[in-house]
Symmetry: C4
Subunit: 318 residues, 4 copies
C-alpha cells in the first residue's frame, strides 16, 4: 500500500492487480513525480533523510569503484602512518633511535611504516615504555586493518555483479505482420549468465477519476526466458491487439510520460548466484520505425558477434 | 506435532491447517505461556538447557556487535602477549637479549608483540633453544590467530543482515469504507532489498473444548509483495467480513492476549542473498483509530521521505 | 535408471513413481545390499574405486574436524620449516650468520621460522646468493601458505552446517485414536533454522515377481513443515488406513529389513543458506508402544526445554 | 528472439514452444552454423569482439587452473620485486646499506623481498628519503597484493564446481520392449551432489519452408531427477512412439547433424550451492546397439563401483 489509501485506482483486468504491478513505488510516487521512475543504471529517483540512513560505511566500501577504493586505501595508509608518527614524536626525542637519519617527523613516519606493515628492519627501534606501548597499539591496528582490507577485498570480489548492457535506445519495428517494441541486451563480462528472465512493465500517466496518475501494465513478451545467454538477446513485445501499446503513437508516448521498466533475473554461473539487473526506457529513448543492425560478422560456420555495433539502429524508410 | 498430542484442536477453515499456522511453537507454548511469542527483535521467548547448547563460539563471534568484537580482539591480543611474555620469562634471564631496556616482564611483553605481529625489529632477540622454541610456537599462533581474525571479519561482513525497522506501533485506521490493521516498515540500510514479501499471523487465546489456548490465523493482506522497497511500505490487512478481526474491539484484543506475528522475506541485492526479518505487535502495541503521518517531504517532483517521522502516528478524532 | 533395466518393478500407486522415490540408490543397491541405505550420520554405504576419486584435498581439508585440522596445520608448519632448514644447511656453513647460536640444524630451523612467518629479527641473517634465493622462495611459500590457510579457515567457517540431532530411537506410540510412527529432532547449535521441511521414505524388502527387492514408500506426515524451529520438533506419521505401515508388526519390520529414511531441508538464518540433513531408523531402532518423555521443564510462563531428556523414551504398559 | 525475425518457424506441438527450447542460441546460430552447439566441456562455439569484452582479469584469475595460477603468482612475485629492485637502484648507491653483499641488483632484489614479504631482517636497510619512500610504497603494495591473493585464493576455493563426468559415448540400447537413448554420469569429486535434475534437448537440421535449419525437441526421460547421487546415474530416454527419435536410424542422425544437449542442475551439499553442468553428444558420439558395462564390483552386500569401467561400452551382437 502506498501513503494515500483513498485514491487507489480499481484493479485493471491485466494479470496481477495493478497495485502489484506498481512494483512498490507507491501512489505518492505514481501521482506526483514526473521524474523517471528508474534511472538507466537501475537506481531509484528517491531520497531519504533522517534516521541516520545517510552513511553506511560497509556498503559504501563494497560498492565503490576500484579506482576510488584504491585511492581510499592509499590515503588511509598514509594518514594512519602520519598519526602514529605524531604519536612517536609525542613520546619524546629519545623514543626512536637507530642508525637511520636524524630525529624528526620523517624518521617517525618511516618507523611507523616499518611497524604497521610488520617489516621491522630494526634500523630504527623503539626505546622506552611509551614508544613500545605505541608499537603494541600500532601492531594491532596494522593487523586488524589488514584483516579488514583483506575481507573487504574478497567481499568486493565475491559480489555477484551482472554487467548487462542495454541498447542505448529501444525501437518500435515491424515484426511479422505487426509491429513490436524491442531492445537488446548483452553481457559485458566473460562469465556465463544462465536462466535469464525478462519482464517489462509499461507505465504512463493517465487521466483517472482520482486525477492524473501513473498506471502500470506488464507487457507480454514473445519470449521471456533463455536458458543460455552466450551472445545477445533481443527482447520483443509484439504490439498485438491485446497490447496496451496497441494504436499508440510516438506523440502519445511522449505526452503520457511513458516509461518502460525492465527487470532481469538470471544466474551467474561462476558463483552460482542469482543476479538482478534493471533499467528503463523513457519515451524519448524509443526510436520509431527503426531496427537494430545485425551484429553477426560473416555469418557462416564460425559464429562471431561484433559488439561495437551493439547500439546501432537503422531507420526504416517505409 | 507438539508435545501434547491429544489436545490438538480441530483444524480451522482458513487456508492451511491451524497446525501449520502455529509456525512451530507447538501446543505447549500455545497453551501455557503468557509471554509474547516473538520479541520485537524477532527472537524467541524460549530457553534450552542441557546437551551443551549453551555456548557456540563461532556463532557468538559472528553475531556480536562490532563494539564488543573490537574489545574482545584487543583484550585477546593483550592476553596472548602476556602469556607469551611469561613463557619467555620462564626461559630464564638470558633468553631475551638486546639493546632495549632491562630484563623483565615489560621487555618480554614487547618482544612478544614484535613476534606475534611478525615485526621482529631485532632490538630484542631470542637466545637459546627454549626461547627459540617459544618463538616458533608464537609465530604459528600469531599466523593462525590472524588468519582466524581475518576469516571471522569477512564472515561478519558477508552475513546478509536486513535491518528492517518496524513502526513502533501498529494502527487500526479507516481504510476505504472499512477499517484496516496497518503498520509500516523501512530499510535502515542503504542496500536495496527486492522481492519483499510479508505475512501476518494473528494469534490469540480462545476458549476451546480443551481449555484456553492460542489459536492462529493468517491475515489476508491488501498486498503481500513488492518488487522494490526503495522507501517505506505500509502493510495493510483490511478488516473485511472474512477477517478474523471482524467486529473485534481494543478490549477484546487485550483480553485475549492477541499478538500479530510478522514475517518478512526478501532479497538483499548487494550479495543476492535471501534475508529474513520478523517482529510482532502485542495488543498493547496497536493504536486504535489512528493513522501514520505522511513522511513525504514537499511532495512534488523530487521524492524525498523524512524517516524521522517514521514512527509518528496521529490520533483520529472521529 | 539403475544398472539393471529389465527387472524394474511396475510403478506403485503412491504419489510419485516408485523409481522417483528410490532417491537414486538404483536397483542394484535395492536388490542386493542388506546393509542400511543411509548411516545414522547421513552418509552412504557405498564405495567407489578407480578414476582418482580417492582423494580430494580441498574437500578433505574443508570437512575434517577442527582438532585434526589444527594438528595438520601444526605438523605442516614444522615440516615446511624443517625442509627449508635443510635447504639453508645445504647452502653451506657461511650461508647463515649472526649473533645467535652455533651453526647447525637448530639455527637453520629457527631462521626458517623467522623467514616463513616474516618476522625477520635479523639476529640470524642470510649471506650469499644461495641463501638469499632460498629466502626469496621461502617468503613466497610463506605468504601463499598463509593466504591458503586463511582462505581455508574462512571456507570452514562459512559452510552451512546444520547440526540436527535425531532422537536415538523412533517410537510407535498411540496417537489420537490410532497409532503413529514418531521421532524427534532438535538443533544442537544456537543458530536459528527456519522453514524446516521433513520427508520420510519407508523402505523394506518385498517379494516381487522379479525376486526379493526393496520397495520405497513416502509416508504422509501429520505436519511436514515448520516455519521456526526454536525448540524441538516431533515428526509424526499417523498409521492411518492409507499408510503402508497399516497392520504391520514389529516382527514384520525386522523381517523385511525395513528402514525409515529421513530427509530434512531448512534454512540457516545466520548465513541465509539452505541446509540439508538426513538420517535413518532401521527396524531395530524403532521402539514399539513407547513414547517420548516430555522435555518441558516447569511448564508455565517461562518456556524451558531440558535437552538432556531428549533421547528418553518411556514404555507404555497398556 | 533472434536476429532474423521473419524466418522464425511456427512453434511445434511439443511442450514449450520451440523458441523456448532453442535455449537462447537464436536463429542465426540455428540456421547457419554447422559447428556443434555445445562443446563437450559445456562451453559455447561463439566468439565476441568489440566493446572490451576480450579480457576480464578477475574472471580469468578465478577460473584458470591451479597450475597456471601458481605460475602466475610466482612470476608476478619475481617481477614486482625486480621492479622495486630497479627503483632502489635508482635511488642511488647509498640508498641501501648493510652487512650483506655488495651494492648491485641482487642486493636490491633481496632487500625488496625482505620488504615486500614484510620480513625486514635489517641486514640491508634503506637510507635516505628516496629509499624510504620506495619502502613505504612497497610495503603498501605488498600488503594489498597479499590481501588480493588471499581473497582470490578463497574465491577460487568457494566456487561451486561440480565435476560431473559424462560417459565418453551415449548408446542406443534395448530397453524393456523398445530401445532407449542412454548415457551415464558420475561425480568426480568426493562431495555429495543432491537433488540432481537432468534435461536433454535433441537438436537436428530439418528442411523447413524457410530453408534448412535446426529444430529443437525436449526428450522425455524415464526419470529426470534423483534425490541423491552417490554412485552413477544412467539417464534414459525411452524411444517410445511419441519420441522424436522414433524410427530414426544412425544414418539419419549423422545426416541431420544431430546433437543431444544435456543440462544438469543439482546442489553441492558442501557449500549448499546450486551447481550447473552441461555437455552434448553429437551423432558421431552415439553408439548404436551397445550397452554400458556394469560398474558394480562383486555385487553383494558391500556396494562398490569401479569407475575405471565407467566409459566402457559393449556392443550387442543381436
Amino acid at each position: 500500500m502506498a501513503e494515500q489509501l483513498k485514491s487507489a485506482p480499481p484493479p485493471s483486468n491485466n494479470n496481477g492487480t495493478e497495485e502489484q504491478r506498481d512494483l512498490g513505488f507507491g501512489s505518492v510516487v505514481s501521482q506526483k513525480s514526473h521524474l523517471r521512475l528508474l534511472n538507466r543504471d537501475g537506481s531509484f529517483n528517491v531520497h531519504r533523510k533522517g534516521m541516520g540512513t545517510a552513511f553506511s560505511p560497509y556498503h559504501t566500501l563494497l560498492t565503490m569503484d576500484s579506482w576510488r577504493f584504491t585511492v581510499l586505501v592509499v590515503v588511509s595508509y598514509l594518514l594512519v602512518n602520519m598519526l602514529f608518527a605524531l604519536a612517536y614524536l609525542f613520546c619524546g626525542p629519545q623514543a626512536l633511535q637507530g642508525t637511520e637519519g636524524e630525529p624528526g617527523f620523517a624518521r617517525a613516519f618511516f618507523f611507523s611504516v616499518h611497524t604497521f606493515a610488520t617489516i621491522g628492519y630494526g634500523n630504527i627501534i623503539p626505546v622506552g615504555m611509551a614508544a613500545n606501548i605505541v608499537v603494541t597499539l600500532e601492531s594491532l591496528v596494522g593487523l586488524m586493518g589488514f584483516a579488514l582490507a583483506t575481507g573487504m577485498m574478497f567481499a568486493r570480489f565475491s559480489r555477484p555483479t551482472a554487467r548487462i548492457v542495454y541498447s542505448r535506445t529501444a525501437v518500435v519495428a515491424p515484426y511479422r505482420d505487426i509491429h513490436a517494441f524491442m531492445f537488446r541486451i548483452t553481457n559485458a563480462r566473460s562469465n556465463q549468465i544462465i536462466e535469464l528472465e525478462a519482464k517489462i512493465i509499461f507505465s504512463r500517466f493517465e487521466q483517472t477519476p482520482n486525477g492524473r496518475m501513473r498506471r502500470y501494465f506488464q507487457l507480454e513478451l514473445e519470449r521471456s526466458r533463455v536458458a543460455f545467454f552466450p551472445l545477445t538477446w533481443t527482447i520483443v513485445h509484439p504490439i498485438s491487439d491485446s497490447s496496451p501499446l496497441k494504436g499508440i503513437t510516438e506523440r502519445d508516448l511522449l505526452d503520457s510520460e511513458a516509461e518502460f521498466l525492465v527487470l532481469l533475473t538470471g544466474m551467474d554461473e561462476t558463483f552460482s548466484q542469482v543476479v538482478h539487473s534493471r533499467s528503463s526506457y523513457r519515451a524519448e529513448e524509443v526510436e520509431w520505425n527503426a531496427r537494430f543492425r545485425s551484429i553477426f560478422v560473416n555469418e557462416d560456420d564460425d559464429v562471431t558477434v561484433d559488439l561495437d555495433r551493439f547500439h546501432e539502429v537503422e531507420r526504416l524508410t517505409s
